[in-house]
Every structure is written in structure tokens, then in C-alpha cells.
């Protein structure tokens, strides 16, 4: 039975090559975009170098003041003072990686301008995050206490600034007219690991701004590491309790800051508001977007399928006359459509591999390396089944309701 369906499906596909092309193009193109997007999302959301302990971590990246009476709101990153003064007192926080937002500075090497994004970090930053040192070592608490002008640079920066020099430890790199001694070189971090990627890392004590200013807002964010996965909820609760003790700034009546798991910390940045972490909002918007994106080619496919099936009314009449029930016919046409979508799926996978190869090659987002992994393939498979079923069911149902006598006369 299936073999017979397969034979006829292939024959039908060969018969109207233009229709087949349009259908396959629609399916494979949509799947390609979906797969590349999923690969990108997977890259952003899965633990990635150097942030590999996500299940033990919570992320603090925003501070929000609100005046509910007047409707004012002020939102920013967090101050160093907040972390050192409040968060460091939490019992469940084992270690805390504090770093500032990257700041860009220009450097000139052989008359060529290069942009160096530098970040200030604390000493535990290097213990919480698993940076891979290609040379040298990170700066220590002692160097921080002394406000030593030392720097850890990325592999990319080494190449851009020092060229092919093999050993750069001990050499000086200049940013904003200050010379820093290079003490370590780390492997590049993808730009998708948003708050952790930088070209150069410096002790926060060399920062020109007053990091100890008793203000809650500032340029910093932090990764809080719990001792174990089980301690994470306790740590989150403790953080919330601590927030109640934080004095509310003048002119406002609420202050919000949260220690979130990774995904919520991202959604809070995009769609968060006060106590709402924006997760539902982001997930809903994204689902609607994906649904719409899948719906358009599906409707197109339904249209093409209806035309194609109606062209085959004589065959439908004959099959019914010789004993096919409506149910059997629906089954046949869905199987045929699945074959079409799976063909589209295979082409889609090939196109995606090509697209990912090109995206990686062109270095569209700095140091991001996308890959097709099992997760991506799994979601693509789901999308394929969705296509096959949705675009096959309606035309098949319409066809199965066709009156045999009319179907046979149609030829």
C-alpha cells in the first residue's frame, strides 16, 4: 500500500514540475529560515563558552525605580556598590562574577584604527566563568587591590594589536591613552554571550569612575553562582528578601532588581517590567511569530494541493469506485503530502547547512559559530510534520468528499 502511494506521489511530483518546484521551494525556504533561527536561538540559550555553569547561576542585570503615582520609571544596569554592599552579604551566593558593560576605545596600530571593547571585572569573574587561557593567567585579588594596570585580552585582540607575535605576555596595550600590561590571553567569546564578550578585561579598580559611589544604578551586571543546583531557588529567594531592605531612592516608591535564571534574565531585558520578567510576553510573541511564519507557506501549499488534487479527480473517482473509502483516500493524500514535505525538509536541511556555513564564514556576529545539532534537527522535524499534516488535511478532506460520478465525468 505505502509503496503504491510512494510511486504515485513521485509520479505526481514529476508530472507538474513547476508546481512541485513552488511547493518544494516554499517548504525548504521556510524550513531553512526556521532552522537557522533555531540554530541561532540554540546558540544564545544553551550554555556556551565561557558561561558553562548556567544551571547553578542566576543573573542580575537590571535595576529599576518606579514612581507608581506619577508613572515614572527609570531603568539601568547595576552599580558596583549594589553588588559589594548588598549582594555580597547573601549566604547562598558562593561566588559572584561582576563585570561592566563593554566600553569602546580606539587604538591605532600601524596607522590602522582598531576598536577595543573593554570590560572591568572583579577577581571572582575568572573563577565563576570558565575562560580558556591560551597564555598567561587572570588578574588576582592582589592586583585588583593594588589597582594594577594589567589586562587580559582576547585572541582576536592579540592578533589585531600585536599581529603574529607569539608571546605577548608582559607587553603593553593602550586604551584611552592608558597603557596596560598584558597578563593573559583568552579564547574569543561569541557576541551572542551578550554580557560576557569583550576584547579586553581590566580590574574594576582601574576604572576612572567612582565604583564605590552609593548609588544602585551603574554600568555593572553579575553572575551569581550557587554551591549546587539545589541552592539556586534559595539564592533567588534570599535575593528577593534582600531587595526589601534596599532603601528606595528619593522621588520613587518602588525599586526592582532580580536574580534570574538565564532565559528570564534575557526576557527581562527585552520585555520585562517591574516584577514581571517578561517571559510569557516574549514566549507568546515568538510563538505567534513562528506560527504566522509557518502559516503563510502552509496556506500557499494548501492552495497548490487543492489544485493538484482536483486535477486528479478521475483517479479519485476510480479509487472510490473500486473500494477506497473517504478515510482511505484522506490517508493516501496525507501520506503523499508527507512525502513532499519530507523531500522539502531534506532540501531545507541542505540549504540550512549551506546558510550556516556561509554565516559562520562571513562572521556576521563576531565569533559566533552556529551549528546544526540534534535540537535543531528535532525542531525542524516537528516543523516538517506540521507542514505535512496541516497542508495535507484540508485538501484531502475536500477531495474525499468529491462525488464519484462528478469526479469520473471531470476527465
Amino acid at each position: 500500500m505505502l509503496k503504491n502511494y510512494f510511486k504515485i506521489a513521485i509520479a505526481v511530483l514529476k508530472r507538474r514540475k513547476f508546481f512541485t518546484f513552488v511547493s518544494l521551494f516554499g517548504i525548504s525556504f521556510t524550513l531553512t529560515i526556521l532552522m537557522v533561527t533555531t540554530a541561532f536561538m540554540d546558540k544564545v540559550l544553551s550554555p556556551d563558552y565561557p558561561d558553562l555553569k548556567r544551571e547553578r547561576s542566576l543573573y542580575v542585570s537590571s535595576m529599576e525605580y518606579k514612581n507608581t503615582k506619577e508613572g515614572w520609571m527609570n531603568r539601568s544596569d547595576v552599580s558596583y556598590y549594589f553588588f559589594s554592599h548588598y549582594v555580597s552579604t547573601l549566604k547562598n551566593v558562593d561566588k559572584m562574577a561582576i563585570s561592566s558593560n563593554p566600553k569602546a576605545s580606539n587604538a591605532y596600530v600601524n596607522n590602522k584604527k582598531i576598536v577595543i571593547a573593554y570590560k572591568y571585572t572583579n577577581a571572582d569573574y575568572w573563577n565563576v566563568l570558565e575562560y580558556r587561557f591560551l597564555a598567561g593567567k587572570p588578574f588576582s585579588q592582589k592586583e585588583i587591590d593594588n589597582a594594577d594596570k594589567v589586562a587580559v585580552i582576547s585572541e582576536e585582540t592579540r592578533k589585531a594589536y600585536f599581529g603574529d607575535a607569539s608571546n605577548v605576555i608582559g607587553r603593553y596595550i593602550s586604551a584611552d591613552n592608558v597603557n596596560y600590561r598584558v597578563i593573559g590571553v583568552v579564547a574569543n567569546v561569541s557576541k551572542t554571550v551578550n554580557s560576557l564578550s569583550g576584547d579586553m578585561y581590566l580590574p574594576y579598580t582601574v576604572s576612572t569612575s567612582d565604583y564605590n559611589k552609593p548609588d544602585l544604578m551603574g554600568p555593572y551586571n553579575a553572575v551569581l553562582l550557587a554551591k549546587s543546583k539545589a541552592d539556586v531557588p534559595k539564592m533567588q529567594k534570599e535575593f528577593q528578601q534582600m531587595m526589601r531592605r534596599v532603601p528606595i531612592p528619593k522621588d520613587f516608591d518602588r525599586v526592582y532588581s532580580n536574580a534570574d535564571p538565564f532565559f528570564s534574565s534575557m526576557t527581562r531585558r527585552i520585555a520585562g517590567d517591574g516584577a514581571n520578567n517578561g517571559k510569557t510576553r516574549v514566549v507568546t510573541i515568538m510563538s505567534i511569530f513562528v506560527l504566522l511564519f509557518l502559516l503563510l507557506p502552509t496556506i500557499n501549499l494548501v492552495n497548490i494541493n487543492v489544485t493538484r488534487i482536483m486535477e486528479r479527480s478521475s483517479e479519485i473517482g476510480v479509487r472510490k469506485a473500486f473500494g477506497a473509502s473517504s478515510k482511505t483516500l484522506v490517508y493516501q493524500f496525507i501520506v503523499e503530502n508527507m512525502i513532499l514535505t519530507f523531500l522539502g525538509g531534506i532540501i531545507g536541511i541542505i540549504l540550512s547547512l549551506l546558510a550556516i556555513y556561509l554565516i559562520n564564514g562571513a562572521n556576521v556576529i563576531s565569533n559566533m559559530r552556529l551549528s546544526m545539532n540534534l535540537t535543531v534537527l528535532f525542531y525542524s522535524f516537528i516543523a516538517c510534520v506540521f507542514f505535512g499534516l496541516i497542508s495535507g488535511v484540508y485538501p484531502a478532506w475536500r477531495m474525499s468528499k468529491l462525488n464519484v460520478v462528478k469526479a469520473l465525468k471531470a476527465q
Partner: protein, 221 residues
């Protein structure tokens, strides 16, 4: 074998009501070869379609093999057609995308028979109509007469008790028409298959056991 009681068929559109069949009573015995004649539009094909359970009468009762099929569900009707009835059409209605053998196997797909069994039965049916050397051809590679023989093979492959033929020789020249007619006569004689045939051709009609003439939806002979 087939009993039609007071069959009426009315086609309705928004403005017109057409009476295609007006109260036909007909008993067809087991093993009978019956032909139906009449001018175009007199309701011959409609009557045949009703007998073949492809169309429902507006009124009246049909019994086939002593079973009243008026209350049958789609699924049950499909099974009944598959087991008891075989169809031959004027324009063959072969599936051009499938090879001759696959075309003939078609009715067996809707039964629980293995691929091997299907192939054996289809080859046998094609041998009976003298086309055992055309198994791998596609319908478009065959002549009209050959195509109609494939269609006959498809109609007999499931060993039905009744064959309903709608102008089976209508598209063929007389020599080929006679060939097809001979196959049907042999089938009726040797296998005892009941055959109901709609035709325009007096010569063909006279070769059958009984002739029924219709005019404007009523039986006149």
C-alpha cells in the same frame, strides 16, 4: 442478483429540477448479461451509477445480492463495492501515472492482500485479457483497445460477482469493440459473472441475454 424498486432520481439546481430516472423497477438475475440502451440523456448512465452505488437514488430501494444497502455507511459501501462490483468505463479511467500492473492491482489495495498475492492475481487477470506482455507499460503507451482490456482486467481482478460496464466499446472501432465484447461474453459464460452494460450499439446489445430500453428516464422495453 440486483433488484431495483421504483427508483427515481431527480437533479436539482437553484432554478431547474430534472427528472433523470422516473420509477424504474428492474430485476437482474445472477449470471445474466443485460444491456441498457436509449438515446443520450435518457438516464442510462445514471441508472448504472445507482446500481454501482456510486450515486444515490432520490427515491426507491436497491438490493444487491439480497442485501439492502440503503443504510450503509461510507466505509461499508466502499467495502461492498470492492468485493462485489467491478466497473468498466467508456474512457477507461486508468491512472496514467501508474504502470499497467499497478493499475490492475488497485482494487486489491483496499483488501488485506499481500504484495505478492496482488501481483499474482493482477498478472492472472491480465493474462485473461491477453495482455501479459504489457505489465510494465504505462497506459499512455497502449492503444485504446489495449487500455480497455487493462480496465477489464482491473474490473475482474477482485473476482466480483457483478460487472457494470458503461459503454465499454464506445471509444473503439468495431473490430476492437468486438474483441472487448468477446471477453465480456466469455467472462459471463465461464465465470458466471453478472454483467450490466450500457451501450449505444444495437449489434453489441443483441449479443446479450436481455435488452432494456430507456426513454426519458422510464423503461420502455
Amino acid at each position: 442478483m440486483i433488484r431495483l424498486q421504483n427508483i427515481k432520481k431527480v437533479y436539482r439546481t437553484d432554478t431547474v429540477e430534472t427528472l433523470a430516472i422516473n420509477g424504474i423497477n428492474l430485476d437482474i438475475a445472477k449470471g445474466e448479461f443485460l444491456s441498457i440502451m436509449g438515446p443520450s440523456g435518457c438516464g442510462k448512465s445514471t441508472l448504472l451509477n445507482i446500481m454501482g452505488l456510486l450515486d444515490e437514488p432520490s427515491k426507491g430501494n436497491i438490493q444487491i445480492d439480497s442485501q439492502d444497502i440503503s443504510s450503509y455507511s461510507d466505509q461499508k459501501l466502499a467495502k461492498f463495492r470492492n468485493e462485489k462490483l467491478g466497473f468498466i468505463f467508456q474512457s477507461y479511467h486508468l491512472i496514467n501515472d501508474l504502470q499497467v500492473l499497478d493499475n490492475v492491482e488497485l482494487p486489491l489495495l483496499y483488501r488485506n492482500s499481500s504484495a505478492k498475492e496482488r501481483k499474482r492475481l493482477a498478472t492472472e487477470a491480465l493474462e485473461k485479457v491477453g495482455l501479459s506482455n504489457r505489465l510494465k507499460h504505462f497506459p499512455t503507451q497502449l492503444s485504446g483497445g489495449q487500455r480497455q482490456r487493462v480496465a477489464i482486467a482491473r474490473a475482474i481482478v477482485g473476482n466480483p460477482q457483478i460487472i457494470l460496464a458503461d459503454e465499454p466499446t464506445g471509444n473503439l472501432d468495431s473490430a476492437m469493440g468486438n474483441e472487448i465484447m468477446d471477453i465480456l461474453i466469455n467472462l459471463n459464460k465461464n465465470e458466471g459473472t453478472t454483467i450490466v452494460m450500457v451501450t449505444h450499439d444495437e449489434n453489441m446489445a443483441h449479443k446479450t441475454h436481455r435488452l432494456v430500453r430507456l426513454f426519458d428516464g422510464s423503461q420502455v422495453q
